[in-house]
Symmetry: C2
């Protein structure tokens, strides 16, 4: 019937044994992180109170091209990896496109997303250093779930500060994390000074990601053997997520394919940075010249409408400063925006590559994203996460363009996860209650006004 | 590290191209279905108003050993199959057992379970006959979701009668079905005479599976081009589900393995019958002698405490009579019983095999099932459906016995699906609010008193 199979799984022998560090091939490096007190470049040692040593080293290491994946992590990866590279035959047929559409599906694990790839690495290195506990924050809950799984596996205590409004609206996410023994606390809480101060001002607040980060960091630095971890934005996270791109590229090689265009959704950049890594390497080293497209929500358009500037990584303004595309750390996406991809900034690595013209970016509106999600579900029988559906929307638009032009492009996109815990948003879409929101220039200016004065 | 991979996926070439019809190798056939009006064996033609012709034929065909899977169905299977055969290395290590534990994982599709294997077949044959719509009922929602996907794929209208209490308690399941364009109606409804009558008596009723079946059948027989379909119990369903066992056996052959014991959860028998089919063939034909174990909830113990008798397949008493292990069609499991496996009877094929001594059965209590589910989730990073966790419980108990005896048994169990839509039950477990319920003999006697007088 079909020569190329619907799904290709690498064998265990074919799985990557090293991560790929994209910075090693970048002609210009991202600007260094700055200590917000001194405005001097942060050193590896300065990161030790926050990150365990191996991760602090990975965060700063811009020269080692390939980094061995420790065997313990490889073993854990084998429990849910390799993830399949899938040829979307049915979607192609439905769109009547001459394009070939491939997607790398990262949702076949209980966290429901690619987040587990870095959660395992971060938990492993913490354990290796003899730490006993981790803290983090979670909004939509994918990262919290992934880290809960990783901590259960390596025997680390985990405290997750979950934004109170999500904690109340998504009780199922909380129950999943509890299945993996995580201590899930609605933020703001009375377990930290930061939380108590906010509660004193406004006992009925629904909380914010910024507040949850502040609580998680306070808890980590005030607890013996504890560190704070983060699921996106950081260089180390992109390094771990390179497994997505390395597997994808290997699988496409086996099929005799190479993508003309690579598409990924972008919030903080963890999935996109991982997916594109080895293809961007080809581009940076002149071996190939695929188009690389970041897709972001029109309601949180950090690449397409943000500023390339130094900013805090958190709304609480306690982290080092990073130069990145940002809407300002005070920017909050509209409440009507479903799912993740709510981050005000973008990975410094991806920001630099975009700034230097190696990447494109598009912003898509929410209802069109859900149109794509439901079409995709019907033809490919996977219910996508709203985040992932941003990439589906852009991939479908590319394929529809190919129908018009007759081009037989090979499209690769990243399907980061499943939408089982996002049915409230799907229901709103089915009921016709979903709306679009695009911030005005004046809305954005408020965020830009809060940018720290660095230069 | 390990010679046998964590996960084995067959290639598309290795996927079964025929289903296996277990009846062809049974030394004695199950007793025939009876027309409840005449108490005479039902004929194939008598089934035509309810089932489309190909399915009616499959229902009655006890002699054709292998039945070609139509190419259209094979193509659809390739969208989510083959499912992996997974070696539970981590669970083995955690249990310190010398046993080798394998499981066949059927949850990697949006329906979250094995139900899609038969839903696709039933939708395909309906489409082939020129029908335009199907009806069904759903309780927990896995079957309704699977059939919604299949109908969206083949372009059939689908009406799902969902028990009202589930409709209200599981809005997310409804939203998933709506994503696949299903018309989901809370039952009882005012769309049928059956529903209106029940509502007239008790406007506030939460509904029952029996009532939903009655409405779905009424809707099907009163609508041009429409048929009613069912996701378990039937011979045709076991035939379609044989793909689970065929893939499992093939994968184990590739690994040079053969199970000493095969374990599956059992509600109506769709998963168990499919998983064991080719192994039971070996047993019936003297080629091998594996133990085969059905696991049922202690709160709905049709095999371990039911009667082998003629009974209606539905609580509304409109279906033909089947001889099977049954608790009586009026039996309702306790409200505290989470998840599926609530059916009063058991597949006539499995009932006959159990009656004739080819199978064992165990009943397990709910809290012990959730103990197993959470342990499994931690070590294997898959959150199991409560139904599937019954098999996990029994597999773990076997492995623990092996630790005591030192036996290096090879255990195979079926992991039918994921528990993402069962977090209410998991939360009850985490909160210590989950209880066990075992019906008394007097409770069961009430169900037996309602059995039809046939002999």
């Amino acid at each position: 019937m079909t020569k190329i199979p619907h799904r290709l799984y690498l064998t265990e022998d074919q799985m990557p044994k090293q991560w790929y560090n994209l910075r090693a091939d970048m002609p210009e490096q991202p600007d260094p992180m700055l200590n917000p007190a001194t405005l001097q470049p942060a050193t590896e040692e300065e990161l030790y109170p926050v990150f365990c040593k191996d991760l602090a080293h990975q965060e700063m290491d811009a020269t080692t091209r390939y980094i061995d994946i420790p065997e313990e992590i490889q073993e854990m990866y084998k429990i849910y990896r390799p993830s399949p590279l899938i040829r979307a035959y049915n979607l192609e047929k439905a769109l009547e496109t001459p394009a070939k559409i491939y997607y790398k599906f990262e949702g076949n694990n209980t966290s429901g997303s690619h987040k587990l790839n870095s959660a395992i690495a971060q938990a492993y290195y913490a354990k290796k250093q003899g730490l006993t506990c981790l803290t983090t924050e979670t909004g939509a809950g994918q990262w919290g779930t992934a880290l809960s799984e990783a901590c259960a596996y390596f025997g680390l205590d985990l405290t997750v500060y979950m934004v109170k409004v999500s904690y109340n609206q998504k009780p199922y996410r909380k129950a999943v994390m509890q299945t993996f023994d995580a201590n899930v606390i609605a933020s703001p809480s009375d377990t930290t000074n930061a939380g108590r101060q906010i509660l004193a001002k406004d006992p009925n607040t629904g909380g914010s990601l910024g507040c949850a980060i502040s609580e998680a960091i306070e808890k980590a630095v005030s607890t013996e053997g504890c560190r704070y971890v983060l699921g996106s934005v950081l260089n180390q996270v992109l390094l771990h997520q390179s497994i997505i791109g390395l597997e994808s590229k290997k699988a496409m090689e086996i099929l005799g394919e190479y993508p003309d265009v690579i598409i990924g959704c972008a919030g903080g950049g963890s999935n996109l940075g991982g997916l594109i890594a080895p293809f961007m390497q080809d581009k940076l080293t002149g071996k190939a010249n695929p188009r690389i497209v970041a897709v972001e929500p029109a309601s949180c358009p950090s690449l397409t409408r943000g500023k390339y500037a130094y900013d805090f990584c958190d709304t609480g303004k306690v982290t080092p400063l990073a130069r990145m595309y940002t809407l300002g750390s005070g920017f909050m996406p509209s409440a009507n925006h479903a799912g993740g991809l709510r981050y005000h900034g973008m990975s410094p690595i991806l920001s630099k590559l975009y700034h230097d013209g190696y990447m494109e970016a598009v912003a898509v509106e929410q209802t069109k994203v859900f149109d794509a999600a439901t079409t995709f579900a019907k033809y490919e029988t996977i219910l996508p996460a709203p985040e992932s559906a941003h990439a589906i929307r852009a991939a479908m638009d590319e394929a529809i363009k190919c129908k018009e032009t007759g081009e037989e492009k090979t499209i690769l996109f990243g399907l980061t996860g499943t939408g089982y815990f996002d049915m409230t948003a799907y229901q709103a879409y089915h009921d016709g209650n979903m709306t679009d929101y695009v911030p005005t220039d004046a809305d954005l200016q408020k965020g830009f006004d809060g940018l720290p004065k660095v230069d």
